[in-house]
Chain length 363, copies 2
């Protein structure tokens, strides 16, 4: 994996925010754009962390992401919103919409929002975490660039389309599901390609649409758009229930792209020469819509303990609950965290242009 | 698979309704209880069809399912309901609650309902179909008897907890996802046990909690509660993303059992000597909460055609959309359908007690 450089979490947040400020964002937008990225690193989801800062910088410079986009409300009811993000910053559009959902759910119990014309919004779980902070149930889904093949299909027409749902607990940590609907993300295929390892057959297909263990071949085919791609959860065909992962990936595309009348499937890429058109679906649900916060927290603690304390499979120490591993990482990374040297160096390369330096300690 | 007996669909509905009437149900309740079962057969989901009538008859006679249960509203807001089914008939509680959700969503855009103290409610998709009939988006989830092991767990503490979401289309058939969150249902393991075939390793675990190909062993262990059970979608461990199926199964339990303050996990079985306490979660969403029915139907047609017309994997003729195979079956079974002779004979055995006969034609 390469050497790690230890950086102070606060300094990483400050550095990242300053890059966004120098790119012309206002204070509030720069803060949230940085917070989404660093939060991913803090929660151990490095694939979605500051390693992606370069892409955001490039997209903002090229005008693919418009930092001065106008966010328009297309439809508003007491319990729903349809938002047009105007090609703006996904993190800004997402967090502003989630805030409105939470406010509306405080008085109207539920608010669901479909968002079109946005960009990559980082980890889906960031927005569910916002709801959890207010003791609400949070929902967050997004479509994304086409990388996933439908069951019996040859071409990647669906994104890795994640599902995130968060539910508050009492003494236990919240339940926080945040999962791509593909078996693995592209990053995992890249790791296998670098090592030259054989992939499990449930991960990806070749240019004929058949399951393959050859990681580099999958990446080459995706780059050349020659066919094949990532497999939905469950893998190829129906024997291991790949059609279920495919159904979930399609569902996410519908919630995001159809309910907002935005882009779906391969259109998320944007038409030729046009910016990408990512769509999201966010929601906040007030526990008072059901049996109330207290009863839900108590039953959640009971449910979580029941699972965690049930018998383990041979040689296994622990049963984890969705989000638990990420909460443990976040607790460990509160003060400082380790970045791959490659990522750390890249951040300082980005920083140079803006007279910004990130300090770090090798080892 | 055994011989098939052809029966008229209308006669099967009439026969099944009459059995429920003779058991003491009123006309409306008997009709919906029969309709849920026959609808499953019509849609090609025989595992949830009239083959289960015997179980319902037995449970009603033993008082496990109470046909005169009072259905109580515990919480009501403009956009939500919490219902206590009083141990009544799952189909009656489910359909009555879904009707209320649809009515409320007509004026208030969204209604979500958590239901406790119910019983098996048949196919989850029945209730989403109710919403689709009114051009609404439908949601239906239920917890169920513990058969599924969590990732790294040895014991079955979760149900096969299905997820169903239906979205109306225009000229295309609606999108209707209806999937258990286990790789396969128990019925599929039973088929492999009867044939003595080796199961794929993603289906189930043995008494030590390790993936196994031995179907009979899994069934024996489940019957003796010796450990092991069905695997969540994605299979054992995390390599093929079994933790995602596990996360979804847990989510369904939370929506149903936690939000209603009902039973979760192994408690769904009911405490010793007590009736089972199944919990459901239903919802109806008015397309007017988002971009409206017309725009959603148009974009759904576009999305469905995009997927169906995309390139096929080698040797594959077709890409299906969730629900499509079941809609094709329903169209084919409109007039008559084939029942396994074993099932047909069992129905007539049940009928004998009530002076009811179901006619059928072998072959």
């Amino acid at each position: 994996m390469g050497d790690l450089v230890k950086v102070k979490t606060k300094e990483l947040e400050e550095f990242t925010k300053n890059v966004f400020l120098r790119l012309g964002m206002n204070e509030e937008d720069a803060w949230v754009s940085a917070d989404v990225l660093v939060r991913a690193d803090r929660r151990g989801i490095e694939s979605h962390g500051v390693a992606r800062l370069q892409r955001y910088v490039d997209d903002i410079k090229r005008g693919v992401i418009k930092i001065d986009a106008e966010i328009k409300t297309i439809v508003e009811t007491p319990v729903s919103l349809v938002i047009d993000g105007g090609g703006g910053v996904g993190q800004v559009i997402g967090s502003k919409t989630m805030k409105r959902c939470i406010e509306k759910a405080k008085t109207n119990f539920i608010c669901l929002a479909a968002i079109r014309n946005s960009n990559h919004y980082g980890i889906a779980g960031y927005y569910t975490l916002m709801a959890l902070k207010e003791n609400m149930i949070g929902l967050s889904f997004t479509n994304s660039a086409p990388l996933v093949v439908p069951t019996f299909g040859k071409d990647a027409v669906l994104g890795t389309n994640p599902i995130s749902v968060g539910v508050p607990a009492g003494e236990e940590r919240p339940f926080l599901l945040d999962m791509a609907t593909s078996t693995v993300p592209r990053g995992k295929v890249e790791v296998y390609a670098r090592k030259g390892d054989s992939m499990p057959k449930t991960w990806a297909t070749d240019e004929k649409g058949m399951a393959t263990t050859e990681a580099q071949r999958v990446l080459d085919n995706l780059a050349a758009r020659k066919g094949g791609g990532l497999l939905p959860v469950g893998g190829e065909g129906m024997l291991n229930a790949g059609h279920k992962g495919y159904g979930l990936a399609a569902l996410v595309d519908i919630l995001c792209g159809v309910f907002s009348n935005g882009a779906v499937g391969p259109d998320v890429y944007g038409k030729k020469g046009q910016p990408s058109e990512v769509a999201h679906f966010l929601g906040a649900v007030n526990p008072a819509a059901f049996v109330g916060l207290g009863a839900i927290q108590e039953k959640m603690d009971y449910f979580i303990r029941m699972m965690k304390h049930s018998q383990k499979a041979e040689d296994q120490c622990c049963i984890y609950v969705a989000g638990e591993v990420e909460y443990l990482a976040e607790e460990a990374n509160a003060e400082s965290l380790g970045l791959l040297k490659k990522v750390f160096d890249n951040l300082n390369t980005i920083g140079k242009e803006f007279n910004l330096t990130l300090k770090g300690e090798l080892g």
